[in-house]
């Protein structure tokens, strides 16, 4: 097993280290800088993991509170980004359990979400209408399948495919071994691929 946690301050740039120190000292401008630098990343991850805008917004705020409460413990064992990912995933996992128990029936599907917000772009540069439609159908099916994956598998897919994290970073964010990351990713892709094959003409 490769140790994902042993990186050290070298990983964290000098600028980032200075920012962290200022945040730990409770400097408001530093806190603002940290939040504005990571809010998009955190919110999007929360949105992809939870699938609900308000939940994601709430979770994002909680993640930053948690970051500021524990930032004095941060010793550069990873990049700040990965560390925030880790906090975000832990909180999302807790919320996910609670959410599943309480509001499973009320969860908004992607179709409803898109209908409500109506802001979907046509993906790709494919101009042929039928192919574009088929591709859109496929993408939506895939997304729906992703939402129905178990939380741990979904998290691995989101971190790898959407956020583009390496296996090392995913392993640290989830607090698991790299082998676990690989096997979860393989299982999740297998499930998604089966979904795609059903759609494909």
């Amino acid at each position: 097993m490769k140790d994902a946690g042993a990186l050290g301050w070298v990983e964290v740039g000098h600028r980032e280290a200075a920012l962290i120190e200022r945040c730990a000292a409770g400097e408001p401008t530093a806190c603002a800088e940290l939040v504005s630098g990571h809010e998009r990343m955190v919110f999007q991850l929360a949105l992809h993991l939870l699938g609900d805008r308000d939940e994601a917004l709430d979770l994002s705020q909680e993640v930053f509170f948690s970051v500021f409460r524990t930032i004095h413990k941060f010793r550069g064992q990873s990049a700040l980004k990965t560390w925030i990912y880790r906090i975000c995933i832990n909180q999302a996992r807790n919320r996910q359990r609670w959410w599943r128990r309480r509001h499973k029936a009320d969860q908004v599907s992607l179709e409803q979400h898109v209908t409500a917000h109506g802001d979907l772009r046509q993906p790709g540069d494919d101009t042929a209408p039928d192919r574009a439609y088929a591709r859109k159908q496929m993408a939506e099916r895939l997304w729906s399948a992703l939402e129905h994956l178990p939380f741990d598998q979904r998290t691995v897919v989101v971190l790898r495919e959407i956020d583009g994290l390496s296996y090392d970073e995913i392993a640290f964010s989830l607090g698991v071994a790299i082998g676990t990351v690989k096997s979860r990713l393989t299982r999740a892709r297998q499930t998604l691929r089966e979904e795609l094959r059903e759609v494909r003409p």
């Binding site: 409770g26 408001p28 806190c31 603002a32 939040v35 504005s36 809010e39 998009r40 955190v42 919110f43 999007q44 949105l47 992809h48 805008r53 994601a56 917004l57 994002s60 705020q61 930053f64 509170f65 500021f68 992607l110 979400h113 898109v114 917000h117 802001d119 979907l120 772009r121 993906p123 790709g124 591709r135 496929m138 993408a139 939506e140 895939l142 997304w143 992703l146 897919v157 989101v158 790898r160 495919e161 959407i162 390496s166 296996y167 690989k182 990713l185 393989t186 892709r189 998604l192 691929r193 795609l196």
Partner: protein, 307 residues
């Protein structure tokens, strides 16, 4: 025939796709994919899946403009409020206005002084003065206590000396009366010589010292130990004479010693109505008669008197 088997390549295809392989491995796999159609399809499937997911993610994210959510503002506002209401900052706030601190310290000191003052007043009030009316009443209300000794009467068991007193008698004749209280604890208190003769100070003092040392069994009235007033009459007489003529007198004296009877009328106070005769051991140690001087100390029983 491919250089690598398809199974081997497919096993590493995900890692290849995710960019987790070394450069040489990537070159190998890429070479295989260029030649093998089925593996190439597999790789394309992975890529298209990634592309679709990224597109969808982008659409979903873009449907919610993050900047308008004002996460940063909310977080900072809440941090500021938490800081404001945290205990530490509250304490700091208290001390930022020293007027309140001085007022608080002053109030605390004033309260402390009041408490100490009232406690000392209460303490002083609780101490009873010996000549106060309350003290007199409480003493009178408890007959038989050490402060209010009882009169010895026939219903009581009179105090008895538990330890012996040994007093060397002087050769001079001495007669005197002692008044004292035998306390509940069996100790002699407040011994007074009633009719002291000035010449016998030394002897009387020795007697008094001895009296304080003697342990008594206290008087018992209805099962309870009580303090009683006592009067002892002490007489020491030396009889000198010739051997043959004075033998009779000596015998008489010795006989008298063994008889616990009063030899003199008691100096009874006017209010005394009854008297008892507590049996006490003689306070005098007999001395053997000397052939030459043939002096014989007369031992006389101490007589207890009640008054």
């Amino acid at each position: 025939m491919h250089e690598h088997s398809c199974a081997d390549v497919r096993q590493r295809l995900e890692a290849f796709h995710d960019g987790e392989l070394s450069v040489s491995e990537r070159i190998e796999i890429q070479g295989h994919l260029d030649e093998c159609v089925s593996c190439s399809l597999e790789a394309t499937e992975l890529s298209s899946m990634s592309g679709s997911l990224r597109d969808m993610a982008l659409q979903v994210s873009d449907s919610v403009p993050v900047e308008r959510l004002r996460i940063s503002a909310h977080v900072l506002e809440r941090l500021r409020v938490e800081e404001q209401f945290s205990l530490r900052s509250q304490v700091v706030d208290w001390f930022s206005d020293m007027h309140l601190v001085w007022a608080g310290i002053g109030a605390s000191v004033a309260t402390l002084i009041c408490v100490v003052g009232s406690a000392s007043v209460l303490h002083a009030a609780n101490q009873e003065r010996p000549n106060s009316m309350a003290r007199v009443i409480s003493v009178l209300a408890s007959p038989g206590s050490n402060d209010n000794p009882m009169r010895l009467n026939y219903e009581m068991n009179a105090p008895r000396a538990v330890t012996d007193a040994a007093i060397e008698m002087s050769e001079e004749d001495v007669e005197y009366a002692l008044s004292a209280v035998v306390s509940r604890e069996g100790r002699v208190q407040g011994v007074e010589v009633i009719n002291q003769q000035p010449a016998n100070n030394r002897y009387v003092n020795a007697m008094l010292n001895e009296a304080y040392r003697v342990q008594f069994a206290p008087a018992v009235s209805r099962g309870d130990a009580v303090a009683v007033s006592m009067v002892w009459l002490v007489a020491s007489t030396t009889v000198k004479g010739r051997h043959d003529e004075d033998m009779q007198l000596l015998r008489q004296a010795l006989r008298l010693r063994n008889t616990p009877a009063p030899i003199a009328p008691l100096p009874i106070p006017a209010e005394a109505t009854e008297e008892s005769k507590p049996e006490t051991l003689p306070l005098v140690k007999p001395v053997a008669p000397d052939a030459a001087s043939s002096s014989a100390p007369m031992a006389l029983a101490a007589v207890g008197g009640a008054f």
